[in-house]
């Protein structure tokens, strides 16, 4: 399922966001321009701008005001991906070479910072204290979550609460803000902002858990990046948490034996992935996805019945049908 199929109604606004992104990443230096162009053409689901545009529909103000905000949010997201690829030492993203593999870590680092700074540059025109406060908090929490993730790498005894706390900060907070941004800028009623926030939180959590499951299930071609990258880096996600704590005794025994070595060979990684697939970890994780998606859809009952609400409903359902 392609998310972009759901965006047909907001396609004109999304095109304006793309044009805005293209404009604000203009530079006189041809080398920099080539790298910006490459980044924009690398694609992406544009989920966060879509949420911002949809949530603006609940406001009373001019819907066009959300375009720069949506573009800024996409820039922040792009910045986080560029930096994530440095941390993950990733060579591919969406099937194409990453910025770091083409231009080096140093350039990728500066580019990520540049994208974040450009986003702030755009947003300074919005004198909405709540928007700025929420974005600043979300950015800080995203960095903290990433730090926490690498600080606790290879700590296989982590529990589900720590995992949920981490993915909330890493992913769900920013999606929550994307869902609320349009409503805030458009001055929608408080109940709408609140409902959209809860929706965004649930969809964000479902999205990240699905991501973590796909990392074990999907192959590299479908993912557009190497499979099982989480286990390779010692990142403990929900499927592994289940397998370590709740899988049947033979699975757990085998898993402890595989994970007890200092380095994971390709053979061991494949064996871990096989255990994850067999022991019920995938079903367990997807049950949480299902729960979060149902909660998200319930939140939509607090919103007016309109096409935007229907699209949000379809996006929430689409999260658990993703392949990449």
């Amino acid at each position: 399922m392609q998310f972009k199929e759901l965006y047909q109604e907001i396609e004109p606004e999304l095109e304006r966001v793309e044009e805005y992104l293209s404009c604000c990443l203009q530079t006189a230096d041809s080398r920099l321009q080539d790298s910006y162009r490459y980044l924009l053409q690398a694609g992406g689901k544009r989920l966060r701008p879509a949420f911002a545009i949809l949530s603006a529909r609940y406001g009373t103000q001019n819907g066009g005001a959300i375009i720069p905000v949506a573009a800024a949010f996409e820039l922040v997201h792009m910045a986080s991906l560029v930096h994530d690829d440095i941390i993950d030492e990733a060579a591919l993203r969406r099937g194409k070479p990453t910025i770091r593999s083409l231009f080096g870590n140093d350039f990728a680092l500066q580019l990520g910072d540049y994208l974040f700074a450009r986003a702030l540059n755009i947003l300074e025109a919005y004198p909405n204290p709540a928007l700025h406060r929420l974005l600043a908090a979300a950015s800080m929490e995203m960095s903290r979550a990433e730090i926490g993730q690498i600080a606790t790498a290879y700590h296989y005894s982590q529990g589900i609460r720590r995992y949920f706390s981490r993915i909330k900060r890493k992913t769900s907070l920013f999606i929550t803000l994307s869902c609320q941004a349009g409503a805030l800028v458009g001055e929608a009623p408080g109940e709408c902002v609140k409902a959209l926030g809860h929706y965004g939180h649930c969809v964000g959590m479902a999205f990240q858990i699905t991501d973590d499951v796909l990392d074990y299930l999907a192959d590299s071609r479908t993912l557009g990046k190497p499979a099982a990258s989480d286990i390779r880096q010692g990142i403990v996600t929900l499927p592994l948490i289940y397998a370590v704590n709740q899988a049947g005794a033979p699975y757990r025994k085998r898993l402890f034996s595989l994970l007890s070595e200092n380095s994971l060979t390709e053979e061991r990684i494949e064996a871990v992935v096989q255990i994850i697939k067999e022991c019920g970890a995938v079903e367990y994780s997807l049950s949480f996805v299902d729960r979060f998606v149902r909660k998200a859809i319930r939140e939509l009952s607090f919103l007016p019945d309109c096409s935007a609400t229907e699209i949000l409903r379809q996006i929430a359902k689409g999260v658990c049908r993703r392949e990449n």
């Binding site: 500066q110 406060r133 730090i147 606790t152």
Partner: protein
């Protein structure tokens, strides 16, 4: 070279560092401290230049001045952590040399943004984000050229110059606290506009000189900037801050075999 300058602002800098230290301790995993060892002269330069400029305008250090200095402290630390990252093959300890500096730098930038919101300094978001945009473009080009073994000093000098320029200029504005910052771009007659521009200009050159100093570069490229600083010094009001700047320039010049220009000696005799 910078110790005397930093000593002059010890109480203010201590307040800023204590607050950041407290925030850093809240970061998950104490191990992050391994990745954020920044030399004192690198992390204090921008906040001290901001405070020095502010003191030229008013004798009292207000909370607003301290908060802006704190923001420059965060910016300075983040810039240094992100100044240059080794490529995969160069980093012997990938977590300490790449991951933690990258992520803590990101956190510092976000913290800077949060402080702008928290302390009612939104009028500075535009110049500070524009500064980041300009500096990051320079350093991105730096990164590209480094891979091609093309000389890159010019980009680093420009980055250093831009940062110090802004620290000095905004330090004047926050201390004067007369008109919104946006008013100064359209109205050149506003009070302290002349001093903002003068200190900004001096700050740019001092920033360039500091980078040359740090990198132990051939001072031949510094001579023009060094002399230009003395030209600008003539336009700064007399006082303790001006003396500190003169001592800073003399200290740099002494190491480089440069001496106070004759016309300055006549003026200050």
């Amino acid at each position: 070279m910078l110790n005397k300058l930093f000593q002059s602002f010890l109480p203010e800098i201590t307040a800023v560092e204590v607050r950041l230290g407290h925030s850093l301790r809240k970061l998950e995993g104490q191990v992050v401290h391994k990745g954020i060892d920044i030399k004192k002269e690198n992390r204090l330069w921008l906040p001290v230049m901001c405070l020095l400029s502010a003191r030229m305008v008013g004798k009292k250090v207000t909370d607003k001045i301290l908060h802006l200095a704190g923001i420059f402290y965060l910016l300075n630390c983040a810039f240094y952590l992100h100044w240059r990252l080794p490529d995969d093959g160069e980093a012997a300890r990938i977590k300490e040399e790449v991951h933690y500096p990258l992520l803590v730098g990101d956190w510092l930038y976000s913290n800077m943004y949060a402080d702008i919101c928290r302390y009612d300094l939104q009028q500075y978001l535009q110049p500070l984000s524009s500064l980041m945009v300009a500096v990051k473009q320079e350093l991105a080009l730096n990164g590209l050229k480094k891979k091609e073994n093309i000389p890159t000093l010019g980009h680093e000098l420009k980055a250093g110059g831009l940062m110090t320029e802004q620290a000095c200029s905004l330090g004047i504005h926050v201390a004067a606290d007369l008109y919104p910052l946006a008013a100064y771009s359209s109205n050149t007659d506003l009070p302290d506009k002349y001093l903002m521009d003068t200190m900004g200009s001096l700050g740019y050159r001092l920033g360039v000189l500091k980078i040359l100093w740090e990198k132990k570069e051939n001072p031949a490229s510094a001579i023009d900037d060094w002399h230009h600083c003395w030209d600008i010094m003539g336009r700064i009001p007399s006082g303790r801050e001006k003396l500190l700047l003169e001592e800073l320039l003399l200290s740099m010049g002494g190491k480089w075999g440069l001496y106070k220009p004759a016309f300055c000696k006549e003026n200050h005799a």
